[in-house]
Symmetry: C2
Subunit: 384 residues, 2 copies
């Protein structure tokens, strides 16, 4: 006898999602090749063929990040867990972190710092603005005991791009370890981990990589690895402890051999492998250019519709277009009509921009002329 009887769920049918065009802040449209890769037969996470695939995957992540960092891998969980991986491994209780906050994800970084028992010194910028390099310099000067500088490269909540190169140079001058959120930037705009001296970086699978959501590529510089190795306290998370995880991914720095840590999300890693392979086939610089080209066409069209951008052109992300909702227009009704009539998803505003802006994504496989055309025509029909 079952206390929750079988007939309580026997009416549930197989879930058949509609075909949407995803132009929100992510997940983005997934490459058909990635969906197909993911559906290939599951093999064991210690199978020699799977381990060889992981070696390729590591090279592909290194390419996308433009780094030779040995400690480069995919966290078996979404970008939020990638963020947490960086903070819990690097930052110890009582240490000081300069955290730049110009949107939702900078604030989330601050919460991560607090949850490891460290101190966050917050550098605030208005939503929609990039991180102020001069304000960060002032904060670094005022806090010589700060050990980290953390900022978001591409703020998904506003569409603002910050100057990661200058910020990381400042961090180096002040002997700080830089922690960079590249969830929305990776694959969509210029990003050069080694050249810019980024120490710790995380991203997500579901933005400009156009992979299924759920995986977070991360990379740590030699300096960051040194910091992890010299910790005085254990990493508070067992699941995210990189000294254990690298035992599975293999690491020449630590000399670790493949050993069981947790069961890898096998099929999701097939998907990430395929999406990064497609990125490499296109070429990283070509992908950056494509995002910019598509953005310009979208921008012209949106401006013709009378919509204005939240972010100034000088620091605007091509892949995340936040525009103000015109006065008198019903936010939810428009998005619902786009979804129901055109199978088109655009994003709502988040945090300070909730109800005030829409976020239109042009990410990865989604950054195509047909998507731009659909979006512009559908918005035109719904708004006018």
């Amino acid at each position: 006898m079952l206390s929750v009887p079988t007939n309580s769920v026997s009416g549930i049918n197989a879930f058949m999602p509609p075909r949407r065009t995803l132009m929100g802040p992510g997940p983005s449209d997934v490459y058909p090749e990635v969906l197909a890769a993911q559906a290939r037969p599951t093999i064991g996470h210690l199978d020699p063929l799977f381990v060889a695939m992981m070696d390729e995957l590591k090279s592909l992540i290194q390419y996308a990040f433009q780094t030779n960092n040995e400690m480069t891998l995919a966290v078996s969980a979404p970008g939020s867990a990638g963020m947490e991986t960086c903070f819990v491994n690097l930052v110890e209780p009582g240490e000081k972190v300069i955290v730049c906050r110009n949107g939702v994800f900078g604030e989330r970084m601050r919460q991560n710092v607090e949850r490891v028992g460290a101190t966050a010194v917050v550098v605030d910028n208005e939503w929609g603005e990039p991180v102020s390099v001069s304000a960060v310099e002032a904060a670094l000067n005022a806090n010589p005991d700060a050990k980290f500088l953390a900022f978001v490269h591409a703020e998904t909540s506003t569409g603002a791009l910050s100057d990661a190169k200058s910020l990381c140079a400042l961090a180096q001058q002040h002997d700080c370890i830089s922690i960079v959120d590249a969830v929305t930037s990776l694959g969509g705009v210029e990003l050069r981990v080694d050249e810019w001296g980024i120490d710790a970086i995380y991203s997500g699978s579901q933005k400009c990589l156009s992979c299924v959501p759920g995986i977070s590529p991360v990379s740590f510089s030699a300096k960051a690895v040194e910091k992890i190795k010299s910790r005085k306290t254990p990493v508070q998370s067992w699941f995210l402890d990189q000294t254990l995880v690298m035992g599975y991914w293999g690491n020449k720095d630590t000399g670790a051999k493949r050993s069981y840590h947790h069961t890898a999300p096998v099929n999701a890693l097939y998907a990430l492998h395929e999406s990064l392979r497609l990125l490499a086939n296109e070429g990283l610089e070509n992908a950056w250019k494509r995002h910019q080209d598509m953005h310009q066409i979208l921008r012209d069209g949106l401006e013709q519709l009378g919509l204005t951008f939240v972010v100034d052109e000088t620091c605007r992300l091509p892949q995340l277009n936040a525009v103000y909702i015109p006065e008198g227009v019903d936010d939810a009704a428009v998005r619902q009509q786009l979804l129901n009539t055109y199978n088109l998803e655009i994003g709502a505003g988040l945090g300070a921009l909730a109800g005030k802006a829409w976020r239109i994504g042009l990410m990865g496989f989604g950054a195509r002329r047909e998507n731009v055309a659909l979006c512009l025509r559908a918005l035109d029909e719904v708004l006018n």
Copy 2:
């Protein structure tokens, strides 16, 4: 100019995994229907149709666990993260937890307890033995200040089944919250969360549910929810903080509405939905019986081959058959031959059983006559 040039990865081809028969400790053979479900188009994690799918998924998880717990959901990461979800949300620094250790996963529980700054009182049993109910009773009597009892229902490292019903009854008598690892038990052997009074439970997608790896179903009783709500300290993990996650999954207890927390692993949740639907179509009790039936046929065959079981018949898991490697037999060579010649994966020993035992899984879709026959015949050919 790219510092990591495109041609460094341009030789990487699409990954084409072989078709294995997975009879290790997990991942298990995935249902073809689940692979197909996972390959359906990605839609937004806030899409009304996706949210409706999540409501169904919650009902399906409740059915599999046999619980009406409102706080029932899928953690967006593997079973190890499900374990950590239970410990970081429930246990506060300085609290005392009775941890039963009869294999790798009990030890991992102890490490989780230590990493939240709590005190673990370990009740040890030999590897291959179940948790001793009388030893736990003695520990509870000796530690009246203990607030939790944590144990593994089905030890994946040995194949031993513990008496969850009696252990949870003891926990209730001592006003302790029970935390139960059901990674390998869910769907394979009798498990009744509400009837047995289990307070917190986690599982994995890749064992007897025959779903792709990477997702962890969890459930918390009203008593556990009360404990989480009355915490004096914040949950140390932002990503796993259930008070935040439930804002996305929706919870009548907390009155929380759907709001963004992290991007759900959309396609992996399609997969879990489908695997649980297949379980419900079969019926939970029929699935339990099928695992037992297949085990008996496998057991007879293995014993005919002269192999002996690590675990006594009275507490042996049908889905995880640990047998001693015969003297003089090369562990790795046999497993390699099974893999290369027969595309058959069986598991190596783990921890104290490394090099001493094989672990043969009969999990979910893998618990079929054809798999039993293949395994027995291939072992016979390789060993004789």
